[in-house]
Subunit: 405 residues, 2 copies
């Protein structure tokens, strides 16, 4: 019965209901993202997560992660002064951000590594997905991820900005070969680390290329919230970077997202447009062996990065021919009809989301586009919400469509 419920949920994308009347199976194992030597948090074969926090004199410890709408997972202190708790039911497959509340303060779980989301370095946990092989480190040739520091004067605030560039495994084998480029953007509150850490974009590409499913191309990942600040000698968003140059957000925005809604995202796209098209693309084309023309340049992004992709690509169809929106809206019939040259210039339109998001909208839009003669691809990630497994799978589905001519 339990299996049937889980299977139904996976197939339909409906939220899995909590099974508070049954004890979880005691086959918990450490999460793959734990810090060295740390046994907790753990995950069992049913996708329950268990947390263990040492804080013997604390009054209250809760974990933000838990079943939707229930306020996370409350831990209980044992006689040994250690706080332990298990989610009330199975979590969705994939990567989740979370944090602790200890006596009213927000802290990270000392058991796990940190990942930048919600404009802070958060704890992360990985619930193994049934299709985890596509983003696993495989016994295949590996590309590299390079940090570049590109000069940024247009926003007039900092000396240089970091970007990370994935080069495919054969990039250094033939010094005469040039490659197409995908510009790939993170979501609100994330940064230029998101796609190659939470997203595992490099490993996904290594695997796709090894299987002959994707052409090799470069992926460029940079910080897309350039409207939120960028002070002289500005501070970096924390964590490994080897530079002090990344602008800070200058805000203490709540985890759910910034105020301002569409205006905010419109501002983000307009400011980021300047950096991307005015500074980063010219830098990449001058410093890497790219095919520096419109047919060989794609842009995609997740969530806010999808909205940026929508805005920037439609404004610059002289620069981009392939468009991917991951949980970031759609290319509508109105976009097609009001954007000069769309039918001639755009080669790929791809829109995706998780089954727990709004797949109905995407499917309806897909039909509407087809009806006016615009071929396009829709992908719905089964059993996932507005989280990174949706976007890992979106990249897996999007990459094979690129640069086929």
């Amino acid at each position: 019965m339990k299996t049937a419920i889980l299977l139904t949920a996976l197939l339909t994308g409906l939220p899995v209901l909590a099974q508070t009347n049954e004890a979880p199976l005691e086959d918990f194992k450490p999460s793959a993202l734990n810090q060295p030597g740390q046994s907790y948090p753990q995950v069992n074969s049913q996708r329950y997560a268990r947390f263990r926090i040492v804080a013997p004199n604390a009054q209250n410890v809760t974990v933000s992660l838990g079943l939707g709408g229930r306020g996370g997972t409350k831990l209980t202190k044992g006689d040994d002064g250690v706080w332990v708790g298990t989610t009330e039911g199975p979590m969705d497959e994939g990567f989740h951000y979370y944090h602790l509340n200890v006596d009213g303060g927000t802290f990270n779980d000392p058991g796990t590594a940190n990942f930048y989301g919600s404009t802070r370095w958060e704890s992360g946990i990985e619930i193994p997905a049934h299709d985890a092989d596509f983003y696993a480190l495989g016994e295949v040739p590996h590309g590299r991820v390079q940090q570049v520091l590109f000069p940024s004067k247009l926003t007039n605030t900092i000396i240089a900005r970091p970007a990370y560039v994935y080069t495919p495994p054969d990039y250094d084998q033939d010094p005469a070969r040039h490659y197409p480029v995908l510009y790939l953007q993170h979501g609100w509150g994330e940064n230029e680390y998101a796609w190659w850490n939470q997203g595992r974009a490099n490993l996904i590409m290594d695997n796709l290329i090894a299987e002959g499913k994707s052409k090799p191309f470069l992926i460029v990942m940079t910080y897309g919230l350039t409207n939120e600040g960028g002070r002289p000698g500005g501070r970096r968003p924390g964590g490994p970077a080897g530079t002090n140059a990344v602008p800070t957000s200058g805000t203490n925005s709540p985890a759910r997202g910034p105020g301002g809604g569409r205006d905010f995202f419109g501002g983000a796209a307009a400011e980021f447009d300047k950096v991307l098209t005015g500074e980063l693309i010219p830098y990449i084309d001058a410093n890497f062996r790219t095919l520096a023309d419109q047919p060989h340049r794609a842009m995609a992004g997740l969530s806010m990065g999808g909205m940026e992709t929508h805005s920037i690509t439609l404004k610059h169809l002289d620069l981009f021919s392939h468009i991917g929106l991951f949980s970031g809206g759609v290319i509508s019939t109105n976009d097609v009809n009001t954007t000069e040259g769309f039918r001639d210039k755009v080669k790929v339109v791809f829109c995706s989301c998780g089954s727990r998001e709004n797949p109905g909208n995407l499917n309806a839009n897909h039909e509407a586009l087809e009806a006016i003669g615009i071929k396009n691809t829709v992908y719905v990630s089964p059993g996932t919400a507005h989280e990174f497994l949706t976007w890992r799978r979106s990249l897996r589905e999007f990459a094979p469509l690129l640069f086929r001519d």
Copy 2:
């Protein structure tokens, strides 16, 4: 009077005494390593650090950082439920790891970024150094830092290990040019991120090269505690990596270092020797444009990495010609006399430490080596202990000596 005390301390390297009878100057500014939008921790012009932690229901909050031997800094809860505290006196210049104790539990400061040290992701704070320009992001050409995943079969546990490779600014300008290589190792409890994040090795090199003080060369940084584990499908040490392949330590070693002393470090060097000389060096020489011979290969390391450098270079003088030990012991007269070919094969011997460490030993050893005809360089970092500013400065002094022939 205060200025005189500080100046004397800087010049002599003596610990600065606490000045509990004087209030610190109220010119505190956020640390450069803070997370975006976070105002605390802060540092004032006298190098006092101030911390602010929100945990309204906590009973006790302390910060591990503070004047030596005094057990850190105890915070006090204000009427607003916020804990605040200031170090009892000035901190040493440079980067410091630290963490919080909240009601008996170890957590990071949510205000700062995280840096891997003591086998955990720790909080970090930067006390601006008087000579900070040499490690600052300059308006100069920038090299890149690349993540490579090199196959590792000798230790028979994982598919691939990550290493980070600094390539100098002109590396991609002339595809025919080949470069020397420095293998640069972190200390105990750190990992392959240390040198390009805490250490800022890439920015130091960018600046030295721009000033014409150092020849351009590659720097290769990988994980050197390969004897501590490395499980099949092993976990990474947390934080950004884009891979799941790094071995874990498998221990919960105390912050002061592992048990076992010399035996432990000897084991680390022997195991790491296999990975470095058997796997990483061949990979780098096959995949980068290196000058793949002994005259163009250097090795250096800090603390445990210095001990590894000592052991591995003396065993493989067919591979290495330049040796740097940063707070990691010395090349002794006995080493010279018992290592065949030392006088012919070794071009540079460099030993350094902080003025608060054991400079007397280093200076005595320097004289002893000179007395037997071995030219060597000693550097003592003023006003620093066994911490990263010592090692940033050591790299600044070491790099210009390399590959001059």
